[in-house]
Symmetry: D2
Subunit: 346 residues, 4 copies
Amino acid sequence: MIKAGIIGSTGYVGEELIRILLRHPQVEIIKMTSKSFSGKVYSDVYQSYLGLCEIECTDEEVEQVAIEVDVIFMALPHGIASKNLNDAVLAQTKVIDLGADFRLTNKEVYEDWYSTEHHNAELLKNAVYGLCEWNREEIRKTSLVANPGCYPTCSILSLAPLLKEGILEKDSIIIDAKSGISGAGRSLNLGTHFAECNESIKAYKVATHRHIPEIEQQLEEISGGTINISFTPHLVPMNRGILITTYGRLTEIVSYEEISTIYNKYYGEEFFIRLMNKDIYPETRWVKGSNYCDIGFVIDERTNRVIIVGAIDNLVKGAAGQAVQNMNIMFGLDERMGLTGIPLVR
Amino acid sequence: MIKAGIIGSTGYVGEELIRILLRHPQVEIIKMTSKSFSGKVYSDVYQSYLGLCEIECTDEEVEQVAIEVDVIFMALPHGIASKNLNDAVLAQTKVIDLGADFRLTNKEVYEDWYSTEHHNAELLKNAVYGLCEWNREEIRKTSLVANPGCYPTCSILSLAPLLKEGILEKDSIIIDAKSGISGAGRSLNLGTHFAECNESIKAYKVATHRHIPEIEQQLEEISGGTINISFTPHLVPMNRGILITTYGRLTEIVSYEEISTIYNKYYGEEFFIRLMNKDIYPETRWVKGSNYCDIGFVIDERTNRVIIVGAIDNLVKGAAGQAVQNMNIMFGLDERMGLTGIPLVR
Amino acid sequence: MIKAGIIGSTGYVGEELIRILLRHPQVEIIKMTSKSFSGKVYSDVYQSYLGLCEIECTDEEVEQVAIEVDVIFMALPHGIASKNLNDAVLAQTKVIDLGADFRLTNKEVYEDWYSTEHHNAELLKNAVYGLCEWNREEIRKTSLVANPGCYPTCSILSLAPLLKEGILEKDSIIIDAKSGISGAGRSLNLGTHFAECNESIKAYKVATHRHIPEIEQQLEEISGGTINISFTPHLVPMNRGILITTYGRLTEIVSYEEISTIYNKYYGEEFFIRLMNKDIYPETRWVKGSNYCDIGFVIDERTNRVIIVGAIDNLVKGAAGQAVQNMNIMFGLDERMGLTGIPLVR
Amino acid sequence: MIKAGIIGSTGYVGEELIRILLRHPQVEIIKMTSKSFSGKVYSDVYQSYLGLCEIECTDEEVEQVAIEVDVIFMALPHGIASKNLNDAVLAQTKVIDLGADFRLTNKEVYEDWYSTEHHNAELLKNAVYGLCEWNREEIRKTSLVANPGCYPTCSILSLAPLLKEGILEKDSIIIDAKSGISGAGRSLNLGTHFAECNESIKAYKVATHRHIPEIEQQLEEISGGTINISFTPHLVPMNRGILITTYGRLTEIVSYEEISTIYNKYYGEEFFIRLMNKDIYPETRWVKGSNYCDIGFVIDERTNRVIIVGAIDNLVKGAAGQAVQNMNIMFGLDERMGLTGIPLVR
């Protein structure tokens, strides 16, 4: 059994990790930390775990936890993981960081977009960007995975095959993203107070969201060229789910079948990526509670663009599920282990 | 492996059965029928099953299906099961009927409340009311289970211990029930059209709902006396969940601890019933997607009433989950098999 | 023109007052105060008012505001109005307090239920309980109205005629209440964080809610006897609306028509109370955004109870709308003035 | 008083017309027709109108209604208005058609996108596209207004000033649209059944929606050149509201202030168009229930695009409200009459 520790266990991503790991046949949760609920039994924080998880939350530091576990999941806001991780910790345990600290390979880009100092630039080169379907081999070998952001996961999975094959104009990419409100986390905020966001949709951080450099970095790496995207995230009055609508100009006239062939080339064998049939588009409910990423597309012949629609559950494939998928890869397990739950459509 | 057939597989209860049974380690789904989607592959009806369930829906009759399977789940409106079941079918397969036809032991009561003729009164005596926690032994022996209604499941589980112990005045019971909208099924109806029920709550079938005789019959059997309840169901703008708020006058002055002891006497060992700590009340989210029934209560000293709050997922413990629990009992399996998923809180 | 000041203008009740008063033909808003948003223009707090209300919020005290206005609306948590009001203020301006400080006539009852000291017991005798349909004459004469709570408004309007006519057993009253989430106000709280209350229903403060003594006091005054109710409020995942389901045992056998006659006797001429036709029950959407209170009922013959369903918009008839109705009465205006907007059903 | 008739009064757009017209100081509703509810009093169809609108729905034809009224609002699916309107009708009454039949000036384009024959091509030249802020003068003179579609209203208002000033590349326009579910109307449909669309977002009719030629036609007329847009509508789980996120490449480098100046040039005096302050983006709640169109934008310097966010209430500015605004113009009334209600934010 793999001994796991979760740093930041009572946020939404932490809770999702526990939901998955408690039913993972090869994992035992040894530690769960929480600054806010230290000393509380988990089922007192979330009544849903009554009888299912009576572990007490502690406020131990990463270094302490590292001694006792084989893998640490860090589900914290950016800026904390980089302070707490070091070679000593990584010598003792594998780490999957669900925050942003190790996603950007360039320290300056990080500091620029996150308006903060990076405390651990030397570790950046150790970190592997944990987009499983694209970086599987590197993930297998590393002890530090930077788990991708929710929007980047769905955006990159949607775009990467077409960019890699060179059929999209690189300066034409527009990503219009829609997220359920759990994406904003559990911290109290007027914008996510029920009567302030229910029955309304809004755009936020238009053209300035911190996931922009993350998406661009990965797409550039995959396609080998400079990519500047326009990216607009929106908040949708629902608990879960991300839908990404992506627009790109085709470099030449291609058929539906040709693009379909490209997607199949990269994803045909991928368990967690499902390619929709023609004229079917993903809906977030079809992936709710699951680790799937659904992708559909259409060629807009009048404008010679391809419009791709991707859907994930922001808390699963967009966070905790992908983290467990990464763990499975890192430990040489079947990648699907613990992640085969069927979507809870409604 | 138990071979299972599902009659009426594309309604909400049917879909929930398939979600559970596909991950049940001892079950193989052999047949799924659907009048409306006959000939369609299941993942064309629900895209969530893409790659997970590519079985084709047929419109075979119960008699045909019975030949090939060990257990039949009937997820149909009332009036159909009683027409299709007979001794020949029951000689070939076990049947769990999720409709109302075999829940009421008295044919006249059925015909009165359902305004229809009962086609199969002689089978009524074979049927066992499948409220697992109370009728486990009979369920084990029968080949025909009448799976309880959603409101009755939560209502009876909430009230039975106190009535059995005789501490409630039998003519004082009031059940105020709230249900998510999936309880109304998948058939199109103005009342469940999104813009007609979203952002609103309403009572319906006040004092006339067909679950009333079902609840009364079971409570009378358990407590041994005549019981007439007032019952008001309400529709709440959410997908899933039933919350039952029950009021009963205490026959004598009892303490919180005494009532707590009673609940523990009946449910202390029950895996699927969770008794809340003092001052904690169930919320439907704590059981979402799971087979749990959560129960909390308070003594309203000023009025000498006990107020009990119970919560279930209407599609799981209130339908498909309890049906699988019944199947597990009928086949001598661990009652929890296939049903240990953790609630999907949000 | 009546000059109005609003103390606590940026909470949900304050905002609703401004929405109504801005379109009231006889009112001019002179002052709006806000501790949190002092110095901000109103349309910066609520973008909906862009171009409609560019008044700056101040943090002036009640005494200062009183000098400049004819009427003050106090939309503050309990405990503040009683500290700020005094004879000097009431000599200068009429006051409608939307908080709880002047609703209970008995200081001890207030202090007991609200766990706080009452700072102004001598003013209690001046205050008139502003349930317009029942206390119109006293309201006309007073300068201090205690605007009823949201649950009490709907509960008392539902029950009062039947209790006054003596056809309900006084110890049999059970009120099961359901409220939209705006009822919890704008202050941040985990319980009203979107992903914590969306898609779920829960009971809270069961048998202990502070509106209990308020309801009992009024019902006792109207019916002339001791009344102890059981009261359970629930939070429903919608922005607005209160639905009250009330159960009472009939003292004798009465017909639907007899009860209908009673309701008509008291409410037949009331503009803001709408009696539903037989077999029609109120839904909160039918009153959304309006000052109506809809009432329907059924006789549960099997139990000899009457079940009454009442619906209001918690922010309008349950708060700001009724406050304006009170103002209209106090100033001798047509009671309906500014309140004839049609419900915004969806 | 203007005598008004509403053809198709019980759909969502019809209901919204009645909500507005009942409070319009210069209008009297004389006729309301409904095929489905003919013979029913309006408050039996919508209980919200109890005591407010007791007019009986008839199934009279347009020709009959035309005799008795000064203005007819047609709130019907496409294909019906063109069959029922003719010179005789237009000689008797003004007509505002809220369907699609008279929006496209080119018969072939209509027949192509709507896959149906146009029955009344000769009337096309009489019709004026009723986008008030751009076609006010023509509207004033016509007796037949084609009321714009919901998506086109918000899209065109967002884009027109910038296209007219020539600062957008004409082949670069992408419109990503999000609509509340009332936009799909009141007809029953699996896609708008509560438990099928709640808690989920989806794209639909990607690159094939019938509002595409309508938007292009108007933008071409305003900008004087060929425009092909990519347009993706999405369904959002909320009752009302449209949010339009528009992307366009700038022909040159311009500043925020320059674009702001352009918007002010066209909309600075427009009552119903509200330009947001810098860094503020519209949210649909800010316009709910009102006739406002809110517009905000940002320059995405990294890609030299402008991203414009527009919001309207699909049933008001996107349908009934704009229709009444058109009526006001046609009858020489103050354009704002009956339309000054304040948004019902929650």
